[in-house]
């Protein structure tokens, strides 16, 4: 896949991105007129939760050139942090969220330290291996449901009181989180750190020669991305009130990559639009046939073969 040039987004893309965010913000106002309001809000909340994970993946994939095939592990870790704490009666956001972040940061530091030493396909494979480790660990947690997963009684609370109990409030919590993390990663990639990260993708030797520690920069980005993905897992567990090892499976990691690339990587809004496109296509195709993957698989191959730069690439005509 061709990584995009380091230019500002084109006007069409910018307008589209703002339009997507505005549409997501206003969707609940229109939802009552559509049949199945709860279903639509639930679907869009899921889209936004995966968009957070995809945005975080884009930070290392699109900007850092690190093709992580184990990113779903962080989503799963975040979800399991919620699930396991809740099984012990701890549901307060002020505890659960910091624990989520800490667990993901620890896992990212440990695995990242090994992974960033490798390059290219070895990086892909080693992140895949770490993802599998997390997956198998989750399946063997017999007292937390093992293979079957873990059901939550209720959403996380704040100082003991239930918050965001109705779907609409939860929807806006998720929307706020997406907006926050989108803007945060946007700030990160345009900061000095972000410029070093992007430069290291293009020419690590030169960046190293300039006196930067490429491995450390990559590791930092990897940890940040892991923590953000952990938050998306935190939200996911709260959304469906269910935690399962399937969140960490390597197919999930593959789907996250698909979302990022489908939208157009190295753009951040591409990740948002890609998640929207991926989950809506999945939803739409699965209404046609339960075997929707038979249609989606070839679609994916065609996108790779013919639509370089993803959906946004088709729109903007902006090629690196």
């Amino acid at each position: 896949m061709r990584w995009p040039a380091l230019t500002r987004p084109g006007r069409a893309v910018l307008v589209l991105t703002i339009a997507v965010f505005v549409a997501l913000a206003l969707a609940p106002l229109f939802a009552p007129w559509i049949t199945g309001e709860r279903y639509i809000l639930g679907l869009l909340a899921r889209v936004m939760i995966f968009a957070i994970a995809a945005v975080s993946l884009d930070l290392i994939l699109g900007y850092g050139g690190l093709v992580s095939f184990g990113h779903a592990a962080f989503v799963g870790l975040g979800a399991y942090a919620v699930g396991i704490l809740s099984a012990h009666g701890i549901t307060d956001v002020t505890v659960v969220l910091p624990v989520t972040l800490a667990v993901c940061a620890l896992f990212a530091v440990g695995t990242g330290a090994v992974a960033v030493r490798t390059r290219g396909v070895y990086f892909i494979m080693i992140t895949l291996a770490f993802g599998q480790m997390a997956y198998y660990t989750a399946t063997s947690l017999a007292q937390y449901g093992g293979d079957d997963g873990l059901r939550l009684d209720h959403r996380s609370t704040l100082f003991g009181t239930p918050i965001a109990t109705d779907p609409l409030a939860f929807y806006y919590v998720v929307f706020g989180a997406l907006l926050f993390f989108y803007l945060l990663t946007r700030v990160i990639v345009s900061s000095r750190f972000g410029r070093v990260l992007r430069a290291a993708r293009q020419n690590p030797v030169r960046v190293e020669t300039l006196g930067f520690n490429v491995g450390q920069v990559r590791l930092t980005a990897y940890v940040i991305a892991g923590m953000i993905a952990g938050v998306s897992g935190f939200l996911l567990a709260n959304h469906i009130l269910f935690v399962s090892p399937a969140y960490m499976s390597w197919q999930r990691s593959g789907e996250l990559i698909v979302m990022v690339v489908l939208g157009g990587m190295g753009t951040l809004h591409g990740a948002v639009i890609g998640s929207l496109a991926f989950l809506l296509i999945e939803e739409f195709l699965s209404t046609i046939t339960e075997h929707w993957k038979v249609i989606f698989g070839p679609m994916l191959i065609l996108v790779v073969l013919f639509a370089r730069g993803g959906l946004l690439g088709l729109l903007g005509g902006r090629h690196g």
Binding site: M1, L61, V67, F69, T111, V114, R117, T118, R119, G120, V121, Y122, I124, M125, I126, L128, A129, F130, Q132, M133, Y136, T137, T139, S140, L141, A142, Q143, W250, Q251, G254, I257, V258, V261, H291, W292, K293, V294, F296, G297, P298, M299, L300, I301, V303, V304, L305
Partner: protein, 307 residues
């Protein structure tokens, strides 16, 4: 743990190892010669098993099944190469990962439509059914020994082809510098297609051989694919020797780990804690091994020359 149990698990590990070698050999060749990551390789293994089911249902004879299924697996491999993979060789790894991920989605779902989601199986051929006593008091299924034997035979054959024939020489040269081989007048495109088809056939062969002992079901290739990737990464991508050593290491470590981890943990943990930690540790063992090996040798145990 008794000696018999240990020997049985050793043989099981060896059997998993040669099986992984059959799959990893194609994967590592394709990667070495064409610089191509093929996630769809596990699918070839699964299709081999399904072909065995179908042809066995048609002929009722395992020898005929093998004779029919092998060329079919080869043909399927060639078809995919010509239709899709050929256009991806000069793309970067991410594109290849995505397109072949699409193939996995398609074929896994496709076999559900054609053969149904329920697990299928093939009976063990009569000639190889039953067990023999390989040590006093140790019975071992003949078919598993047949798998080990055929896997080792393929390994010898591959070694002979790759290091002692003209085409093997071209494959080795292609792994070092494909454009140069092309410039010297070798039809690289055909070479690639051959290597790819051969690799697909080996994976298909593995699928056919396990059809009598495993349940044939959608997605059966996925876990094996991941293991095969661990194998080639440990062994060094592009190296057949690395794939062989890596496959045996992974097969043995995984099998022995699963059988004995709980017992080992019981030495210094309580029984219930060992039952918790043992299986989890066992399933992570090969990934830990891979991480450690990559940490010490970032290019694997036997890095192919020229990369």
């Amino acid at each position: 743990m008794s000696t018999t149990l240990f020997v049985v698990q050793l043989l099981n590990g060896l059997q998993l190892g040669v099986l992984l070698f059959l799959i990893a050999a194609g994967l590592t060749l394709v990667f070495g010669v064409m610089d191509f990551i093929n996630l769809g390789h596990g699918v070839q293994y699964m299709l081999g098993a399904y072909l065995a089911v179908t042809f066995y249902a048609l002929t009722g004879n395992f020898a005929y099944t093998l004779l029919l299924a092998l060329p079919s697996a080869l043909a399927l491999g060639l078809l995919v190469e010509v239709l899709i993979f050929r256009h991806l060789y000069d793309r970067d790894h991410l594109d290849q990962v995505l397109a072949t991920f699409g193939i996995i989605l398609f074929v896994n779902e496709g076999v559900k439509i054609v053969w149904g989601a329920a697990p299928l199986n093939v009976p063990i051929p009569a000639l190889f059914s039953g067990s023999i006593e390989i040590m006093p008091g140790l019975l071992y299924p003949v078919w598993r020994l047949a798998i080990i034997g055929s896997g080792l035979a393929v390994a010898v054959l591959l070694w002979a082809i790759v290091s002692h024939t003209r085409i093997g020489m071209r494959i080795r040269a292609g792994a070092v510098n494909a454009p140069m081989v092309g410039a010297l007048g070798v039809d690289v495109k055909t070479l690639f297609t051959c290597v790819f088809g051969f690799g697909a056939m080996l994976a298909g062969f593995a699928g056919i051989m396990v059809a009598p002992i495993l349940s044939v079901e959608p997605g059966m290739g996925d876990s094996v694919l991941i293991l095969a990737f661990v194998v080639i990464v440990i062994g060094g991508i592009g190296s057949i020797r690395g794939a062989f050593v890596g496959a045996l290491i992974v097969g043995l470590v995984d099998t022995l780990g699963r059988s004995f981890a709980t017992d080992i943990f019981r030495l210094f943990l309580t029984a219930s804690a060992a039952r918790q930690v043992g299986p989890a540790f066992a399933s992570m063992l090969i990934y830990l091994l891979m991480a450690v090996i990559l940490f010490v040798r970032p290019a694997g145990l036997f890095p192919a020359k020229g990369r």
